[in-house]
């Protein structure tokens, strides 16, 4: 296999998004050691969001470290998905949404009016809770993202490479032209991951990617997330505490109080959050006392 990473389809209109691999390499392999984030892929500053007149999240400020897995945890309705969807501006699709604050991807504020969300979503990919392959062949599912970007390279190689990265190639190499919907749920979810990888994003957002899967399929996706973290920045929302503990380097705990506004309660290294939480609400949540 030729190993050069998939070329960015077409010409990148997105200037400051060059991936700084070098900085990641100097930080060592797996596991963040220090509390300080020196190399942030994403930096949120006082993000608040309203659905109509109802505020859903308030003043969220945090940095997401490059080439690490960051988990977002918290009880249902605390705004995890909402915050996640800020990062690729999927919330823009909901007409009543209003946002304040700043969200930096590298050095660019992606909430700025001048940023085209379409361009942004090519750099910040997303995997949904329910596997949602297109009702097309496995091949076309993976190739779609590259096609709409006007990718001029070799599509067979691109598809194979993306499927290999998503640990799905061996299972589907003989049925590339059957419907993506004919795969099992876990395979479908890995197909959706392959689909996202094929446009060569920097960041991959995952909203409860395993909640519709059985334990074995879940384990495969978790392994995959760890592998992908070598090259991608991953943010994952999960309700599964063990999963957060297993896969993530850092964990953010969010909570909505009576005002129903989701806020960041505690954010730190996953090990610290799960072994020595500083906030008693975090402790209550991870030990299963509420939520």
């Amino acid at each position: 296999m030729t190993q050069p990473h998939i070329d960015t389809p077409a010409t990148p209109h997105w200037r400051p998004l060059s991936r700084s691999r070098a900085s990641a390499a100097t930080q060592g392999a797996v596991g963040a050691e220090t509390d300080e984030i020196t190399d942030a892929a994403i930096e949120a500053k006082e993000i608040s969001l309203w659905y109509g007149s109802a505020q859903a999240i308030g003043d969220i400020t945090l940095k997401i470290e490059r080439h690490r897995v960051t988990a977002l945890i918290g009880p249902s309705g605390c705004g995890k998905s909402t915050f996640l969807r800020c990062m690729n501006r999927m919330n823009d699709l909901i007409p009543s949404v209003r946002m304040t604050g700043e969200l930096f991807l590298d050095d660019q504020n992606i909430l700025d009016q001048s940023v085209d969300p379409v361009e942004l979503r090519r750099v910040v990919g997303m995997v949904f809770q329910k596997p949602n392959p297109f009702p097309k062949s496995v091949y076309d599912n993976v190739a779609f993202g590259a096609r709409i970007n006007g990718y001029k390279g070799n599509y067979d190689e691109l598809v194979q490479h993306a499927l290999e990265r998503a640990a799905l190639w061996d299972e589907v190499k003989d049925k590339l032209h059957t419907s993506g919907l004919a795969l099992s749920g876990g395979q479908q979810q890995r197909l959706c991951i392959a689909r996202a990888l094929a446009v060569n994003p920097q960041v991959i957002l995952m909203d409860e990617p395993c909640s519709a899967l059985d334990p074995i399929a879940t384990q495969r996706i978790e392994d995959l997330m760890r592998e992908l973290a070598e090259d991608y920045t991953i943010v994952v929302v999960t309700h599964n505490m063990q999963q957060a503990a297993r896969v993530s380097d850092r964990t953010a705990f969010m909570l909505a109080r009576e005002d129903r506004v989701g806020r960041l309660v505690e954010y730190g290294l996953t090990e610290q959050i799960f072994t020595a939480p500083r906030d008693q609400r975090t402790e209550a949540y991870i030990t299963g006392r509420f939520g």
Partner: protein, 299 residues
């Protein structure tokens, strides 16, 4: 707080024996009621079909399809009305379908959700329920008289296009709305523009539904009479249409014409033409069903 103990399954508190038998009786009675209703409708249809076929079958020979209308019933045929129907339907589809599908896509995928959109949606629903004769009046005033088209193929097609536009838009809207939102979100999350998501993923999924709606609308236009008579397409046509400015006649108009003749022999012609029209409309409906079933499998 007193604990509420759930009853054991099947206990009397949920389903007394009497209650159960009452429900079974009701269920059986309603089954017979609906079966009878359906059978009655089918029976009426069968009687009508039998009557028509027994009257008209004798006239269904090659001459009947290749002859122009005539003063003599046994020499008259469907040639000009079949050709006219073909022209009018083809032109109607060409004009109405792109506009209808475009409108549906705009409403479902692009339009800002404001009062203007609400007004449009409301009007579409209302227009779909307007009697066809009203479209005939409109066509007469606007296309035939004001635009000076006369009772031509063009005027007829424009009138029918207006008539089927609302229902085609609504059918296409329905088909687009059936597309799971995960498909739309999935495409957009990959960096597709709205239009790329529509073209690449949403339309292909919605297409069978749209095609079904279009075919049913064609079937409706194929049987349309009142509005075409209204615009004056009630003439004796003894030539093959070759231009959209030609006068024309269509199958249902020809049927209507024959039924108004005093001579008994024309009744047989009308019955035969009705058989032809029924077969055409049924064929359209059959195609619509096949399209719908064929494509549903892939999902």
């Amino acid at each position: 707080m007193t604990a509420v103990r759930p009853e054991a399954p099947g206990s009397d508190r949920y389903q007394g024996a009497r209650e159960r038998s009452r429900r079974n009786t009701l269920s059986a009675a309603s089954r017979w009621f609906f079966l009878t209703a359906a059978a009655l409708a089918l029976l009426v249809l069968a009687v009508l079909a039998y009557d028509t076929i027994s009257q008209g079958a004798g006239r269904l020979n090659l001459q009947f399809f290749t002859s122009y209308p005539s003063r003599f019933a046994d020499q008259a045929g469907l040639r000009s009305s079949l050709i006219g129907s073909g022209w009018v339907l083809a032109l109607t589809v060409v004009m109405a379908v792109p506009i209808a599908v475009g409108t549906a896509i705009w409403i479902e995928e692009f339009a800002p959700d404001n009062w203007f959109l609400t007004v449009i949606k409301l009007n579409l629903a209302n227009l779909a329920g307007v009697p066809s004769i009203i479209y005939g009046v409109l066509g007469l005033a606007v296309f035939v008289r004001f635009a000076g088209m006369g009772p031509s193929i063009l005027a007829g097609s424009l009138t029918l296009a207006l008539m089927i536009l609302p229902m085609t838009v609504i059918a296409a809207q329905e088909a687009i709305r059936q597309v799971p939102s995960g498909i739309r979100d999935g495409a957009l999350a990959l960096g597709a523009t709205r239009w790329q998501a529509v073209r690449g993923q949403i339309l292909p999924v919605a297409l069978p539904g749209i095609v079904t709606g279009v075919i049913l609308a064609i079937a409706r236009a194929a049987g349309e009479t009142a509005s075409l008579i209204m615009i004056g397409a009630f003439t004796f046509i003894a030539f093959d249409n070759s231009r959209i400015t030609d006068d024309f006649t269509t199958l249902p108009i020809q049927i209507y014409n024959w039924t108004t003749r005093p001579q008994e022999a024309f009744r047989a012609n009308a019955a035969a033409a009705i058989i032809v029209l029924m077969v055409i409309v049924l064929a359209f409906n059959l195609i619509a069903t096949i399209v719908r079933n064929r494509f549903r499998r892939f999902r």
